[in-house]
Amino acid sequence: MKFKAFLTDNGVSLLEKRFLPALDKMGRTCHLFLTREHAIFLHNLLNGDGIQSIAQFRKEALFDDYRISSQNDDRIAFSIDLSLLHRALRSVITIYAEFSGTHTGTGGASTSNRLQIKLVKKLPPHSQQPMPFLTFETKGYKSAVIQDVPISKPLSRSDVLELQAALDMAQDLPRTLVQVPDMNQLQNFVDRMKNVGDLIDVSITKYGDLHLQISTTLITLGAEFRKLTVIGEQAQVPVGDRDLSAQTRTQRAIQKGDAMTVQVSVKHFAKSLQCHLAKPDCAFYGIAPQGACLTVIFQFFIPGTRQTDKSISLHCRLPVLDPGSS
């Protein structure tokens, strides 16, 4: 079982500035699943009923000179503490940047100074048992640095298969997706809603409405966003719908089969919005068929264009607490 690669500058900034801060909010530990073509960060796919998040990078998005081999079809998976990974990466970068900074313009710097990442087994101090680590290695102008991030034992063959199966399962797309108008604003709102109740009803219509509502015995608090961009199945807004209340409109849409409602935890919903730390270019919410889960899909553009960068993908699946009336 071997893994060795060099992180590219783009890969460093993607992870350090964007994805690790976002993924850390999903949960401190996650699985890192490495295949011949992809590196995937997975939260809660095998265990638990928490929010699932899947951040997938094609190897070229993060690495060059990517080498992986294992007896399990060249797949390796282990769990890792994201805050340790983030700290290690930041520490390595300070040395790495120092070197690159002083040598820019000399031309040879980018090839001679590289940031290597590899899997190793080491004997930690005061221990008889060698332990697995994900190791970062680089050299600076006057110093070199090695950062060892402890990881779990690599997952067994059956666990890797299970992880792969769960990953395949998590790819089903909702029939209708609506685009979130302004993630910051929505996050602000949901953060304030959190004080009022624990469960939130999320309704999505084929007309492009996103309706959020918290309802307890003492209070009902809701927000409706309309005329959003729809991807997938759409429908015309019924005539005479305009002057109705948000609740009535949603009810009617559900009766006509033009909408679905699910109930999720407000905490999960707020967490899913934290993904905007990864600086996606847009975000879409949708409800999986049969109301199996609430899915949020983030889209990343190739810098300077409005074309989707297919080498990066991030989506979350929020467990549904009540199958709803859909």
Binding site: N188, F189, R192, V196, I219, L221, G222, F225
Partner: protein, 304 residues
Amino acid sequence: MSSSAVEPEAPDLVCQLDNVQGMVDALTSVRWKRHQDAVVELSEHGIVLIVEESRCLQAKVYLQRELFIRYEYTAQGRPRFGVSLGLFVDCINAFSVPGHSNTIEIQYPGPDMQLLLKSVDSLGACIYAEIRTRIPDMVSWDYNFEPAGSSPLSFTVKSAALKEAIDDLEWPGSSIQIILQPVPPSVTFRGEGHGDLQIDFMYYVNTDLLIAFHCDHRVSYRYKYKFLRATTSNIPGSVIKDNRGSKLTIGRGGMLKVQHLVSVARPSIPHPHIDSAGYQQPSRIAYIEFFVKPEEDEATANDS
């Protein structure tokens, strides 16, 4: 008004406010603990919210009708209802999302006696809320505040300094003595408990701190620290930032009145100049009043 007979009954009050944050600030300033029941009273003059604790502390928030951009009041008498203050504040706070229209419409009662709120004027997005109200069960016990004598016993101090002084008095705790004396003109806060701490505000030494002072004879009363603290613990940041003053008056029997002014000015209108007293149009100010009863023994000693 003959048409009103055929229409469904008009609500007692429909009003619109264009500065939600100001209302949140004003209400938050009387939120000294997590679960508080408040009584809201509506009238043609505005909305008053009252909270009370242990028959020793009462706070009132006056939201005068001038604060609202629309205020349609049709009720007979003065409708009152009970509401959870925490829920009410958290709920209104959801309307003050940055970058969103900050105008809300408040209506009472809804079909089921709820308090109805909704955002207005926001394109493509709408926030709404319904808060269940109760029949107010709080005994209407008025904190009759009467002047102590012919001349007032009062002082005005910078809100930030008052808050700081009261926060510092946490250490001795339990019971705080407030002394006003004319010679030299000064206000003293003294705490005796786990240790002694005395804070003096001298009128002539620092007129920036103690803005006004009226006292013709020495008075001294003791107040429970936790009640005193409640009067400044949630004073909004805007009050501190605007460098406002808080007025404290001692009335008959040692009843302490603490008044703060909270700005409900429209945030989009920049204030080119705010002078040191933080003066703004009076119509855009919410008045907050606290009434604190003194501890018993000291009160009788003073009255003799």
